[in-house]
Amino acid sequence: MTMETTMTLRGVALAPDPSGALVWPAERTLVVADLHLEKGSAFAARGRMLPPYDTRATLDRLAGLVERLAPERVVCLGDSFHDRRAAGRMEAGDVARLRDLTGRVADWLWVTGNHDPEPPEGFGGRILDDLALGPLTFRHEAVPGAVGELSGHLHPVAAVLVPGRRVRERCFAFDGGKLILPAFGAYAGGLNVLDPAVSGLLAERFEVHLLARGKVHRFPRSRLSPDKA
């Protein structure tokens, strides 16, 4: 297996995918964060009629990755379900789709998050609060100072200025010791990595891998543009 890598975390080669997933080729492992399934219907229940297709859109992309990469392990880094009642609102077709998807992967792992401290049973896979694989730790929320850690939770985005415009997209944030994944869910918004909530967890010098126009582009922190306020 040949590949290009852009990040080395505790000696482990990791590859960011333009979809927002992370690939650990040596372990045939696919990592995604913050699916937020049924976020649309959570808003609808409060009278905000967002289109209901976010679960379907997210599962489509996830299924495409599983098809293309045929991983042996999938790790969902928490906040996979938008709230406790998400499974109950999920459309029957989407329920079947998700079950089928977890059934096609040998080891499917649901890491718990603040939105889904108790992910729904019945979708297959194992539920864990966190996970250690080789030298790496997988958890929903980054722990300050932890090294060799992959997390989600913060939905990092970054903005760069190129002549004539500002491009703001989801990104991986990486400082050599910690890797924060972008949100994978169709309706998951973003928080600028220059916000102290993100940058405060990272080393002074970090880089982002920005997902734009079907590719991944690497930028150092010095090139990033803050959001207002």
Partner: protein, 822 residues
Amino acid sequence: MPDLPSPLLPANVQGWFRSRGWAPHPHQLAMVEAAEAGDSALLIAPTGGGKTLAGFLPSLIDLAERPRDGLHTLYISPLKALAVDIQRNLEDPIAEMRLPIRTETRTGDTPESKRRRQRAHPPQILMTTPESLALMIAYADAAALFRHLRCVIVDELHALAGTKRGDLLALGLARLARLAPRARRVGLSATVAEPAQLLAWLSRTGRAEGGDVRLVTGRAGASAEVEILTSRERLPWAGHMAVHALKEVYQRIRAHRTTLVFVNTRAQAELVFQELWRLNDDSLPIALHHGSLAAEQRRKVEAAMAAGKLRAVVATSSLDLGIDWAAVDLVVQIGAPKGASRLVQRIGRANHRLDEPSRALLVPANRFEVLECRAAVDAVAAMSLDGERPRPGGLDVLAQHMLGMACAEPFRPDDLYDEVVCAAPYAGLARDEFDDVLDFVATGGYALGNYERFHRLKMREDGRMAVAGPAVARQYRMNVGTITQEAMLRVRLNRGPVLGEVEEHFIQGLTPGHTFVFAGQLLKFLGIREMEAQVAKGGSGEPKVPAYAGGRLPLTTALADRVRAMLADPAQWPGLPEDVQEWLRLQRWRSVLPAHDGLLVESFPKAGKRFLVVYAFEGRNAHQTLGMLLTRRMERMGCGPLGFVATDYVLAVWSLRTPKDMDGLFDQDMLGDDLEAWMDESSMLRRTFRNVALITGVIDRRHPGQEKSGRQVTFSSDLIYDVLRKHDPGHVLLRATRADAAGGLTDVRRLSDFLARVKGRITHKDLDRISPLAVPVILEIGRERVDGSATDELLEQAAADLVAEAMPELGSPGNSQGRLAL
């Protein structure tokens, strides 16, 4: 005018006119007559003809003769400031005639306590805005409030009709017609090309042939004296700032009492203002006025102007509406006016005394603008104004209105449909379209049916739709209105005063230390603090000028047609400056002149590339779209298109090879799949969708003071757009978006008319070098910012430039894309 007592006017009103030394204008009496007959009326009159008083006079008379409590007359203005201004101006005649009338204003700035009091004890005359009316009719007590209403006055109707705010107001009037069946409607308008459209808008039937609206026309003022500046300097080939002519403009300012200098964009306003002050050896009081300056600053300029303290004001369309200044004796238009109606309104700002002619000076900034200015002057002299076909009302506005009506009281869908089609913008609304929108308001209306259990509206057993709970009404009241604009940031002078507001994206393009020109001064950007851009005076380096979205209006169809006719007919050239005549003669010799009804396409080599210049004259927006479509097609033809640039007059495309089949290249079918595909990807459609999502309440407006904290995650309408487009492409929100994008900008319709017109009439000249007429557009190349698809390469280039510098300790440089097989 005969100073005879009019039987129409009661004694105290007549006495008031006499005490002022005035006699009522015939159109003012005609308005009173219409009211006596119980008819609605549309008054079309130039500024300064006592138009506002003509609108109010019948109400003043009625209340003088039959004093009573209760809301009698509702006045609706497109501007909050205008409502306040009119209320102040009306107080004088009311006091002087000793009329028992209370007048008040109600706008977004009116405190909640005063609003409550106004609903319980309304004044006889209330001045308000379309948004405030929408809120008032969405309360359960609306029927009681409007029970005694006798008259609704809509001011500046020409500026409201055809916009989404106009749609909202038309729907509000349709509801008022039910609450107050005896209320007449009065429309006040500037001169327009198609009065029938405004008659339909004002009619209770929503149709021009409704017969319930009288047309009253004010006396036209003395005809305007319009001159085109023939500069002693050589005319520039391109550019829009007319810097070459400002010395002569300054001389004219010196020679007049008060001059209004109109420009087309705020960026132009800043530059022209700076340049005039550079030339201002006499330190004449010259001020600046545009929509981005702080309201306080604008008020100051307006007050100084009214007091006769200024010799000139450089202004954008922020001064097109409303406020009257009699002292102005010269209007200067810098750059081409872009439309005849617009020119008439601007000229009308000078000399409001109708017996004196208005004087105006047009200052073309380049050679094509000379032709356009000449065409505009001819059009004004021929009284031929630009007409636009009315566009159907927005479905997003209808959705908002439906929710508001449910907040007022439960309704039967059949009844609401009958009411809505009486509003002119919705006169052609099909019932199934109405039902789709209602379905969206009630449950989202998505093809995936799992939202059935979530309701904003519920069908009751009696067949009426009602709001599902008080939270729905609260949400409606937070989100009412149709004004959606890009987020603005205040600009504050180093912890001192606020200078105004600029678009957020402009500030985000600056880094601390950058300089830019704003509010007439050179400023240094310090940083963003507490939602404000902090700046200091001075600084060095090449300044950026704020680039404002939507600042550029495209050339109107009617004016474009005149420009084409003039180019094709050498008999019309003698009035043009010698530079321009020589330019056209050279074009005729080296190539050919564009025919009036055909299309000239030139091709020539330059700098190793092949250029294709298309003389379409359809305005910049239409040319941008045409450029996108042509390059797609040239790609398929194997011509290797590399880029394009559009002006108001011409489109230039450069490529590796020249296409051979011109008829095929311009075939009408390009408006099919290519257009759909392009529109779906374009940022224009995403922006439009965002507005639709805001207006329909799918996403919330951000209100000042409740901005999201940094920690909160922002929810972008782009995410919704992408998901909806893929999974429910026929959804009513997307239909509303496409209709807006196609109709609101009019460029797609223009393009399809254009392609039909030139079919079979394309002249292709293959030249060995650039033609004279092509020079201006070729000069534009490089001035335009790179757009759209080029972002990809820019990103890669930016990334590549920086790889070496970027943290080598964090991994190997190189392409960061991870394409891998597991």
